[in-house]
Amino acid sequence: MNKVFPSAQEALDGLVFDGMKIAAGGFGLCGIPEELIAAIKLLKVKNLVIASNNAGVDDFGIGILLETRQVKKMISSYVGENAEFMRQYLSGELELEFNPQGTLAERMRAGGAGIPGFYTKTGVGTIIAEGKEHKEFNGISYILEEAFVADLAIVKAWKGDPEGNLVYRKTARNFNPNAATCGKTCIAEVEEIVPVGSLDPDHIHTPGIFVNRIIQGEHEKRVENMTLTE
């Protein structure tokens, strides 16, 4: 199978529409699908609902879609790095649903795994639990969290092959494998497309079945918080 597309914009062709739900991989600015985000900006789709752990910074990552007011709602665990986000949120222009980080990751995994809901202790007794079903298991209280299914998943990997098999690098893996599974369609951008057969089958992180389209990109890979020793 050859799932390779020549560019992010071509890979997005026919897959974007106003009001769509998007799941994006990445943690902070690490392992984010830079080119796909940039292409979504160019395509000018609006009212996006985006599940992504963070919202980028003002001029990079998901942040660039906030700048253009393309985002209606974010589902995130932490958005502290984005001043424009704060402004839009506090002025009521932007909806925000906070999910605990592990709950967000598990909601994506569940969405991809045909599990419509799961119970977790995370958030019990907090505002996160308000309005959610509570249930006891062995005398301990848990809340029901529902799966997240996206119209489109956008992920960034290190290497990929034309079958869509993906390998991630270090902590740039993060939400990407989980996001990849929960999209009705998934586009992966990679640093290098390698020939089929060159990835060790024991070490493929995302099997090709989850990936519909794949592009090779140029990645800035911006460092958010450079911290050095000495």
């Binding site: 943690f27 980080q101 592990g102 990751a105 995994r109 907090t126 270090k170 902590t171 989980n178």
Partner: protein, 208 residues
Amino acid sequence: MWDRNEMAARAAKEIRDGMYVNLGIGIPTLVSNFIPKNLDVTLQSENGMLGMGPFPKERYVDPDLINAGKQTITELDKTSYFSSADSFAMIRGGHIDMAILGAMEVSENGDLANWMIPGKLVKGMGGAMDLVSGVKRVIVIMDHTNKKGDSKLLKKCTLPLTGRGVVDSLITNYGMFEIISEGIKIIEIADGASLEQIKAATEGNLVI
């Protein structure tokens, strides 16, 4: 009275050989500087890494290698990487021995507030809610009082909670405390601090 480093050093004394530990952002990050070299301790970073190494020298900076505070870090021989779902399976499933976190408020029954000031601070809980509900022992490091001098060890938290009854131990500039069923038990008083000072600075029920 303990300073930031002394609080971190006191927390490090709670770490045992062979433990898997998650350190929060801020003072908790300093704890790693005080873990005795003869202990074999493995640091987990919730963005998907077990076996976190120190900050890199400049030439080893790798944008694909950061911790949960988005700081550049390094890997060790024992390091492994995994997805966010797998990372929180590890955390939620009780496989991490200890989490050391910062806080805004702690109540006498161990409620923790450390993620939100309504109308002011809208950052998010990140992985804190998962950590406090999943990790075997939760230690909080924070100043005993806020800038206005009001106690942060309360009868009841005023801020939105991160978790209910989740704090096991507490380290402040005044000393080390444990949450027991009767309240906040004093374990150790910092050099230069006094019992009277602690009493005056603690709203929650103290157990002496």
